[in-house]
Every structure is written in C-alpha cells, then in structure tokens.
C-alpha cells in the first residue's frame, strides 16, 4: 500500500460527513446518476484548486440543489426561488473580498428568476453562476421547464411540449451573451468523461475570473436527470450528449476575459466621525432646544398657483424663516404628477407652539398666485383671514367681505425688476408687511439657505424690498 499515492479523492471542500442531513449522512440526496453531484464535484475541485474555500459563499437556489449547503464546507446562503442572482449581487457588493457563487437550476434561473439573472448579468456583477440545465423541474416531480425540448412529455406537457402552446426551449447562454455585462459564458455538458473534464475547466475559469475581479461569468451545464427522464444513468448521459446537446450547443458564447479590466480593490469607507459632515448635518448632543419665540405666533398659510410660479419655494422660504426665528414649522407640498404640470400648492405652518397637524385646511393666510387657485381656495379661508392675489383686482365672484383681500400684479412688478419668475418673492415681501413674528434677518438667512445662486439671491432681496413697498402704498 505504501507505494500507492492518491490521485483522486473526495474534495476537502465537501464536509467529511453531511451533518445537516437528517439521515444517510454519508451520501448526497441526489438520485443515482444525477448530474448535480458531478457539478458539485467540479465546483469543489475548482474552489480547492484556487485556494478560496474560506472566502467562498455559495448561494443555493430552490430546486433539487436547494440543499447544496448540506455538502459544501463554505459559507452558505439559501435563497428564494429564482432570486439567487439578486442575493449574490448584494452579498458580493457587501463583501467584495468574498467569492460568491450562485448555483441554479433551469426552472429557478430561466423561468421564475429570469429577471434576476438577466440583470445580474447585465450589471456585470463580479459573481460566478453555475446554471445546471436538465430541461425539467426535478424537485417538484417533472413539470415542463423553460428549457424542456419540443415534443418532450412532462407532467404538464402530457402530449409533448408544443411550441404553439408552450413556446420554445430557452437558450440561456445565447440570450445572455448578447449583453455587454458578462465577461465569460460557456455551455458545457456532462454526457461523458471527456465532456465532464471540459466542464471542470469551464467552472474553474468562471471562478478564476471572479478571483481576478474580471466580472460576471456563467457556465451552463447540460446535466442528466435519469429519474424524471425515466432513463437509466447510462441512457441519461447519452441523452445529454445527443438530445440536449443538439438543441443547446456546447461552446464558449462570450469571452471578454482578455480585454476585461480587473475591478479595483474597494476603498475603505470614511471614518465614522466624518459621516455627519457627509450627510450635511450637525449632531445635537445637548437637550433639544424648545422653540424660542418672542411673541405668540400661529400662522396657517396656504400657497397655490401653477407649476413654475415658485409656489413650493415660497413656502419653503417661509418655513425656513420661521424655523430661524425659533418657531416650530411644517411645509407640506402637493406632490406627484401635478408637480410637472398644472397646479401646485403647499401648506405652511409657523407656530410658537409645537405644530400638531401640518395640514392647513382652514388657512388664515392664502397666497393665490393665479385665478384658478384663488377660486379653489378662497372659500376655505377662515373669517378674518388674509388673502393675497397675484392680479390687479379680485374677480367679483371671488370677493368675501369677511377676509382681508389684497390684489397686486406681483408677477408684473417682478417683471419690472427684470425677472418675472421672482413674483413669488415680491409677494413674500408684501406678506411680511402684514404678519408678525418673523424678523427680517430670519427671512434673509432663509433666502440664503434656499436660493442656490448669488444672482438669484440679489434678485430675491430686491423683490422682497419691492414687495414691502407695493404693500405699503395700498
């Protein structure tokens, strides 16, 4: 015995005993002659050859290989049906130093998970996919798979797969190869020892690509399923060689490994102490400062107009100014499609007490930047309230004796300043004459925060001043 040396034996990437199985812990759960065991061995061999066992994370699918984690002494994650490429993508991005393998069958990858594999491939995720195609649903008992051959009788194609009713066998390697994302796609078969040796080389390359950081690799493995095909192991191998291989031609479908640029090593994230600056916030380590305001203020403002009149921005400046003045505030916009056309409105509350409801359904102040907005909201204004209207006069049918109405052509006034879009800020200037509790300095600081350019800040400052004047001369 001493002069014999071992040349082939069980890979150390497999557990010595399959303790996660409840019984028969010495052998796999696969049927006699099943290709999964062979594919597992090829994968284990490649992991061992590349010395990556500690780094490897195997994502197992739903299907016969759902229990791959019984066997592989690697990190293991079991995924929902079809979702392994999404799971694997996130694992790889969370742990770029790991080697992530998505092991999937044909129902899993080519039917329910067709979106996930397509997009993982198209993103060029730096993962390795082993796609075991045996052209049938094995685990569930022999239903038609997306790769089932035409004419083949399955439990759900009892008269044979018919293209008119069931469509055609899906060619995954060819389909994914038209994408720019993948670097390597090869189809191999497990039809005899020669094919299996070639499959082993492909699996190894696909893993090696990931180790080198080259990107997405997939090996489609045509694999025997003797039990469901109702063939013995020998006949099933023959069907792989002659039946499956005639429709799904083995070969390299995509190889960009030469021109692929290895991904750079991920940079470490910023120091935690730098996070607040990145987020543009300051941490408040003291007690929360309660709003401090000189006088009792409770402004309930509704602002409305058409999109582009600066309705939301006007509200935001008011809210910022209120907050600057030590008041509690809320700003609630209309949102969605009407932001892009048509009407726009917002609710603003500025209060010396904590704001309860941010909704202003009975405004004390209505700023109507156009006539439809005036018509829409005038009746909601509470008696004694203030209504400002962007026009020379309030239409007769919109008048209310119980509210304070101020009509000015704010947009035209802004036009005289050289910028008609500043009409909203002219209106703000006018409003500030009529309300109390918001100091001028707060408004100016609010403008500086909300307005993005110096040019606009200057225009808006002029607009505010002009607004105060036009209000005054009333």
């Amino acid at each position: 015995m001493a002069n014999y040396t071992t040349v082939h034996e069980k890979s150390p990437v497999f557990y010595p005993e399959y303790e996660r199985k409840s019984e028969a812990r010495g052998q796999t759960h696969y049927c006699p002659g099943c290709g999964h065991g062979i594919a597992h061995k090829l994968l284990a061999q490649a992991i061992d050859d590349l010395g990556i066992q500690d780094r490897t994370i195997l994502v197992s699918p739903v299907g016969c290989s759902v229990f791959a984690y019984y066997y592989f002494d690697t990190g293991n994650i079991q995924a929902a049906h079809g979702r392994a490429p999404a799971v694997a993508s996130a694992v790889k991005r969370a742990r770029p130093g790991s080697i992530v393998i998505s092991y999937q069958g044909d129902g899993d990858l080519a039917a329910i998970g067709s979106a996930e594999i397509l997009h993982a491939a198209n993103r060029g995720e730096n993962i390795t996919v082993l796609f075991v195609n045996n052209a049938i649903y094995g685990m569930t008992g022999g239903q038609m798979a997306p790769t089932t051959l035409l004419g083949h009788k399955s439990t759900t194609t009892p008269f044979g797969r018919n293209a008119v009713n069931d469509g055609y066998p899906l060619r995954v390697a060819e389909t994914l190869s038209v994408l720019d994302g993948p670097v390597y796609i090869e189809r191999v078969a497990l039809g005899n020892a020669k094919q299996i040796l070639q499959a082993g080389r492909a699996v190894r390359r696909a893993l090696e690509n990931q180790v080198k950081g080259l990107g997405f690799s997939l090996v489609e493995i045509l694999s025997p399923c003797p039990t469901i095909w109702k063939l013995d192991a020998h006949q099933a191998q023959q069907h792989v060689r002659e039946g499956l291989s005639s429709v799904f031609k083995p070969g390299v479908y995509c190889d960009r490994t030469k021109e692929a640029v290895p991904r750079p090593e991920p940079k470490p994230g910023p120091a935690l102490t730098g996070i607040p600056r990145i987020l543009g916030i300051e941490l408040n380590e003291g007690a929360s400062a309660a709003p401090v305001a000189a006088a009792s203020v409770d402004l309930r403002i509704r602002i409305a107009g058409f999109g582009g009149q600066g309705v939301l921005m006007l509200g935001q400046v008011l809210a910022e100014a209120g907050m600057d003045a030590g008041l509690d505030v809320s700003w609630l916009p209309s949102y969605g499609p009407e932001m892009r056309s048509g009407t726009s409105n917002c609710h603003v509350r500025i209060s010396s007490r904590p704001v309860d409801s941010p909704l202003v359904t009975r405004p004390a102040v209505l700023l109507a930047l156009n006539e439809p907005s005036l018509r829409k909201f005038i009746s909601s204004v509470e008696p004694g309230g203030l209504v400002m209207y962007n026009g020379r006069e309030v239409p007769g049918d919109c008048r209310r004796p119980d509210v304070d109405l101020l009509a000015r052509p704010f947009t035209e006034i802004a036009d005289e300043l050289g910028e008609p879009r500043a009409g909203n800020i002219v209106m703000l200037g006018a409003l500030l004459r009529r309300i109390e509790g918001i100091p001028d300095a707060s408004v100016d600081r609010a403008l500086a925060r909300v307005v993005k350019t110096q040019r606009w800040l200057e225009i808006d400052r002029k607009a505010i001043a002009r607004g105060r004047e036009v209000c005054h001369v009333s």
Partner: protein, 367 residues
C-alpha cells in the same frame, strides 16, 4: 444649525446611515422616490452600497443577501412594491435576518393613486407574506420621527433578528419639518451568525428551510417566543391628554397629528377628549387602550382607509367600550374640522356618517 428643515423621506436616509446602514436596494415608486434618490447620493459617499434593482422582488432579495453578509441593509417602497416584497419578507423573517423596510403608503388597491392612504396596515402589520411570522412595525408621524424611528428600527431589527417596517404615508414622506440628529454615528460589526466570506464564518448558514416537521415547529415556536418578547418590551405610543378623557381618539401616523389638533380644538370647547397615537403598530399598544377603557365612554378610530387598525383596537378593548370609526380614503385626508364635527355628533349620541361626499370636500394634497 442643529435643526434642519428636511423632508421626511430624506430624514429616513440620514437616520439610516447614522444607524450604520450601508446597503440600500430600491426600485422607483412614488411617493417613496426621495428615499432611494437620497440613498443613491449618500450611500456611496458613506462607504455603502446603493443598487437600483430590476424590481421590488429583486430589491428585497438584495436586502436578504446584504443582511446575510452581515451589513445593516434597507429598502423603501410603497404599497404596490411592498406587495412584491412580501415573498422576501417571509424569507427574511424565516431566516431570522434583520433589515429595515420603509413603506411610504399610497392609495390602493391595484394601481390606485399616489396620494396618501393608510390602507397598507393589514399588509404590513398582519404579515403580507406566508407563514407564521410578524414584522415589527413603527409608524412615524413627523420628519423627526422618520429619522428617529428609522434609527430605532435598525437596532430592533438586529436585536430581534427580524424585519422591521417603518410604515408612513405620502404626507409624512413629502413634508419638510425641522429635524435634529442625536447620537454618534454607529457601524456595528457583522453579527457572528452572518456569512462574510471568511474562515471564521465559513461554517455559517443562512436559510429558512426546516424540512422535518419537528424542526419547523421548533423554529416557528422560537420565532413566536421572540415576538412575545417584543410584545412585552417594545410597545410605544403617544398618550395625549387621554388619561381622563371620556372620548379617546385613536389614529397613527399623520392622522395622529390631525387628531391632536382635533383634541386641542375640542378641549378649547370644554370637551373631555384625548388621543392615543400608536407608534408601534406591531406590537400594538393594546394594554394602554384596555386600561383607558375603564374610564373612557367612547373610542373613535380614525384612519385613511375604510378601517384596518380598528380591528386591533376592537381586539384590545374586547368589548369594554364602544368603538366607532371614521375614515377617508382614495388619497383624501380628513380635515381636523371634519373629524371634530364627527366627534360632536358622536357626543350627541348619533353615529358618525361614513360619507363619500362631505361638505368639506377637501382633497388635501391633490387637485
């Protein structure tokens, strides 16, 4: 400038990153888009991952993968997207993976509209996915709570190894309010059970399979015990002047804010009225409602739906006190004045009217 005016949706992302979240996986949907957009900007700058998924199905499974790999991970969506994520939520709970999912709910069923509703309560609070699992559910009512409860959500998710859902609505997501952030930025290490691609974690397995009935029962009982612990320890609510109230209003999220305004209005008229605003929807503040039922004459549940949380209120009260309901839906938000009128009618002894058309035909955000 400790306080900043900020949208609720933005506050969520900043709260999440301060909590140590370094993975966001999202798919566009109104009215939750600002969350993904803010994450797309801030995650890479913070050393995290932002990935726009091909669907909500993929997004939640990316969360599953990231969580398996031991990082704090999240996604955000709205009702139709949460429907697609239900599968993944069941797997996450089954595999005992922590994660945070934000639902900025909109009008349904089907495509419905993008206006605010609270009609995702059943879906989010009662499960949505298959199997005996629960999601812990937090319901913020302000931009500040969007930040604070998101941060809390990550801690609860890790503590219970379970998905935590932040259930808000379009208003809370879209409105701007002053927000301040407290507490040092966190970045917890990978949990010992996670699969990180190292020699130390090589033996780890993330899975929701328990093939043998005895194993699965043991596993489900373990989850059940966990939920019981959460029920005992994690109930949160706001009691606003309800201790001596004859009429107790119950509403969560933005409706809670509106109800507070109703309480203030009616207290001004001498009415003895208060509010319970559940902050955790699961676990539900059942004991607090039960306690109040010994003093209160009447409960009124208000929701932006045709009545979902009311079932939990009824279970909590167990017949101790009458429960009435008022709801608006379709994206209409009940105005404080409208609810106040309902309360007055209730006090006068008549039932609130369930109307489609009201005299206050207010569409708060739209049209």
């Amino acid at each position: 400038m400790a306080k900043q005016l900020m949208k609720g949706n933005e506050a969520i992302v900043k709260g999440a990153i301060l909590a140590g979240c370094r993975g966001f996986y999202g798919y566009p949907i109104t009215p939750a888009n600002e969350i993904a957009e803010a994450a797309a900007y801030f995650m890479p700058l913070s050393g995290g991952v932002f990935l726009q998924a091909e669907s909500e199905v993929a997004a939640i499974n990316m969360v599953y993968g990231a969580s398996s790999a031991g990082i704090r991970a999240m996604t955000a969506s709205s009702g139709p997207g949460i429907s697609l994520m239900s599968e993944g939520l069941s797997y996450l709970a089954g595999a005992e993976l922590p994660c945070v999912v934000v639902d900025i709910s909109r009008g349904g069923p089907g495509l419905g509209n993008i206006a605010p509703e609270q009609s995702d309560y059943f879906q989010v609070v009662k499960g949505g996915g298959h199997g005996c699992y629960r999601g812990l559910v937090l319901a913020p009512a302000s931009a500040q709570e969007m930040a604070d409860l998101t941060r809390l959500a990550f801690d609860l998710a890790d503590h219970y190894r379970n998905p935590v859902i932040v259930l808000a609505d379009g208003i809370t997501g879209q409105m701007m309010e002053p927000v301040e952030f407290k507490g040092e930025p966190a970045l917890p290490p990978a949990p010992e059970w996670s699969v990180t691609g190292t020699a130390e974690t090589r033996g780890n397995l993330v899975s929701s399979i328990c093939l043998e009935p005895d194993d699965l029962e043991r596993h489900v009982r373990k989850l059940e015990a966990k939920y019981k612990r959460a029920e005992a320890a994690e109930v949160r609510f706001e009691n606003w002047r309800a201790d001596d109230a004859e009429i107790v209003l119950v509403g969560y999220g933005i409706v809670g804010r509106i109800l507070k305004s109703v309480v203030e209005q009616l207290r001004g008229f001498g009415m003895n009225i208060g509010l319970i605003r559940p902050i955790t929807l699961y676990p539900f503040p059942a004991a607090e409602l039960h306690r109040l039922a010994y003093h209160a004459r009447q409960f009124l549940v208000v929701e932006m739906s045709t009545g979902q949380m009311i079932e939990d209120v009824r279970l909590a009260l167990n017949g101790l006190a009458p429960v009435e309901f008022f709801g608006r839906c379709g994206g209409n938000v009940p105005a404080a004045e409208e609810i106040a009128a309902v309360v007055r009618r209730l006090q006068a002894g008549s039932h609130p009217e369930h109307r489609l058309e009201t005299e206050l035909d207010e569409v708060a955000l739209h049209g």
